[in-house]
Amino acid sequence: MQQLVSMRQVRKSFAGVPALRDASLEIVPGEVHALIGQNGAGKSTLIKCLTGVHRRDGGQVSLSGREFAADSPRDAQDSGIATIYQELNLVPLRSVTENIVMGAEPKNRLGLIDWPAAHRRAGEMLSRFGIDIDVRQRLGRYPAAIQQLVAIARAVSLDARLVIMDEPTSSLDDREIETLFSVVRNLRAEGISVLYVSHFLDELFQICDRVTVMRDGCTVAVREIARTDKLGLIADMLGRDRNEISASGMTALDGPRGEVGAEILSLGHVATGRSLRDASLTVRQGEIVGLGGLLGSGRTETARAIFGLDSLKHGEITLPGGGGAPRSPADAIAAGIGFVAEDRKAEGIVPDMSVRENLTLALLPRLRHAGGIDTRREREIVDHFIRALGIKLASADQPIRQLSGGNQQKVLLARWLATRPDLLILDEPTRGVDVGAKREIQAIIRDFVADGGAVLLISSEFEEIVEGADRVIVMQEGRSVSELPGEGLTESALIAAIAHVPDEVPA
């Protein structure tokens, strides 16, 4: 059968850093094709090279057997490639009909838009997917799932041959996902191909025919979904041997347990939404507890719940000092919790403020002196942490945006260490910092724990979890599923636990 899309040996670098090194992707007409990989594997770069957002540096791309290079997303759309982004490119304030027919409105003899025909066509479009809604209503009045389906309807009405869906289910509930899946099956029945990007592996087994696995900018495997399983896909994504994973996983699951202090944090069956359904864990003084899991397993959501950012739908949290679930970050901070967030740029630093000001922001309530800020103590604290953490800078008064990533991260760590917390939550503390700074940051964390602090560590780098954590809570699809002792834990044992599917015990 002729390929609809064929991408081979695609290369793409950004400012000299390769994002794609040897990526390929082949899609045949009428198949649902999954594209998976860890964060940074190059999935979205590859898609953007296809849809004309990026221009590839090298490699061949063909569409229906002919050489293809889209100059713009519009160009790709005209060639029959429609992309449904997570943030939908629709107009919520206009009617469903307008959103579907926009740019291709039916005209009457006078050259004016024939609205009755437009509504009829929009209604027909949607009924093909089994959706019956009032197409005259504003799009924004309908739930996210319907909006997504309208986006798909629009794509199909523009004669798309390939529909790309980027994490289409991340904002949908279970019933809405079923509707989406039936639409995807309808598309397949009509001979339209779907490229499906998702980190929910279970979904792939429900609707996909084949899957392309990417790692570090390369395509590492293409599999028939019927001939593989979750463990196999995870092994591909992580670049491990599946036998190694399942074998070592069996032995290391029960090991000796280390000495620990008093319990300072406990979560019992905490749920905040679809991404965090049931998490239970405890953290004790003087230990680092790792949260292991794949992207989307609920690690960050667990941290957000503990820090009072998401309200609980179920379950309970006991904070240091015995308090219940915090209602705001201020509550959590008052209870002795610090949170170094994952997205340093958006949630951590205040870019135009000086290093000194950034470092003491969380400490301000305690620096108050005669109505003002006790600048002498502030300087002492800032000097102390700059020295103690080896923060490299020209002056404590230079804007923090001028510092390197590693030094920015140290300032953020210092910000929380200065509040003398009982518990520090670290979400990807060493992402985007160089190797030297990484070691230093890990040493800082170790020192903090040796002084009686406790750490909840979230990291996508299994090595960091294995080396750092005294215990690891394994999370899958919003649930904490098992607990591993840190001592004697190996990377492959951790990966096995992450990949372990409760109802199909690895052989």
Partner: protein
């Protein structure tokens, strides 16, 4: 940090280096004025210049805090018109009740803004546009569409018409005190730092447990209070509450703040540079008046506005250049 004595000095220079464009421009214009016009440096000109511009400086200071949080306050001009009438009505009881009453009326408008923006989450532009219209209407209602004469017998007009010492009017003394207090709040208190942090990244500020709500409420109350004080100056200096004044004051204040190097997106700003910005904009008019007085050219008020727009543009351009070279030096 080898030299802790240098710490603060470098801190000040560090934050204000990017705003020095306004000082360069101000110095250039003053030197130009002194060399070209005989009476430019006279005590009379200095006194009347400062007295007239005290209104714009004070609303610019309030505006500066609002803009540093990433917000905007469009209501200041008509709030000042409203409070000038309140002060005029209260003037028979003397200066203190009129002053307090005028400022309190301004704070009340600020409170409405704060309620609309913080708990009700309206965009600041829309919220303050509504209070702007309400203040304008309110000013016409309570004044009966007439200017409201102040009581000339009471002490009230001393504020706007007499000098504190030398050529320095009382209004500018109050403005100077307010500027120093606000400068200290901005640079030396948790509240000031929270204001800057919110403008820099409201999300990060919330995650750090900063009192975001309190700081946002504060800036709108402050801006309302400053507008209230400007209204008191207006009534006192012109001898009447003026329901039709205040048009375009918000834009003058925003321009002063921007010329002072404060980012409209928030997160960066300076009190001295805002004062400098307001002085700069006032000085353009002052110089043009002198130029007209020489008789060589005659510019209408409309042309003066065009020229002021040009100067504003030139200063901002100058600042962008200085910022770029400062960033390169780092």
């Amino acid at each position: 940090m080898a030299n802790t004595d240098m710490f603060d000095l470098r801190g000040m220079v560090g934050r204000h280096a990017q705003m020095s464009g306004v000082w360069v421009a101000l110095a250039a214009m003053i030197i130009f004025g002194l060399l070209r016009y005989e009476n430019f440096g006279s005590a009379y000109n200095l006194g009347s210049f400062l007295n007239y511009n005290s209104m714009f400086i004070i609303i610019s200071l309030g505006m500066c805090f609002v803009i540093m949080t990433g917000g905007i306050d469009l209501s200041v001009g008509y709030v000042a018109a409203f409070t000038s009438i309140v002060a005029a009505y209260l003037s028979p009881w003397g200066i203190v009740p009129a002053l307090i009453g005028g400022v309190a009326a301004g704070v009340a408008f600020g409170a409405v803004n704060a309620i609309l923006i913080v708990p009700m989450r309206l965009p600041p532009f829309i919220a303050t546009l509504s209070t702007m219209l309400a203040a304008k209407g309110g000013a016409l209602v309570i004044s009966g569409k007439q200017t409201v004469a102040v009581d000339w017998e009471s002490s009230f007009t001393k504020l706007g018409m007499e000098k504190a010492f030398g050529p320095i009017p009382w209004t500018i003394v109050l403005v100077a005190i307010a500027a120093v207090v606000l400068w200290i709040i901005l640079e030396r208190t948790a509240l000031g730092r929270t204001v800057l942090a919110i403008g820099g990244s409201e999300e990060a500020s919330g995650l750090m447990g900063l009192k975001v709500t309190r700081a946002k409420v504060f800036v709108y109350l402050l801006s309302g209070g400053c507008a209230g004080l400007a209204g008191v100056f207006l009534a006192s200096g012109f001898g009447a509450g003026q329901p039709l004044e205040g048009t375009g004051w918000e834009l003058t204040a925003i321009a002063s703040v921007v010329v002072g190097g404060t980012l409209l997106t928030g997160g960066l700003g300076s009190i001295p540079a805002t004062v400098g910005g307001a002085l700069l904009l006032g000085l353009v008019f002052n110089l043009l008046n002198f130029e007209n007085g020489r008789g060589t050219i005659s510019l209408s008020a409309y042309w003066q506005m065009v020229i002021r727009g040009g100067v504003l543009f030139a200063v901002i351009l100058l600042q962008a250049r200085m910022n770029k070279s400062a960033d390169r030096a780092n």
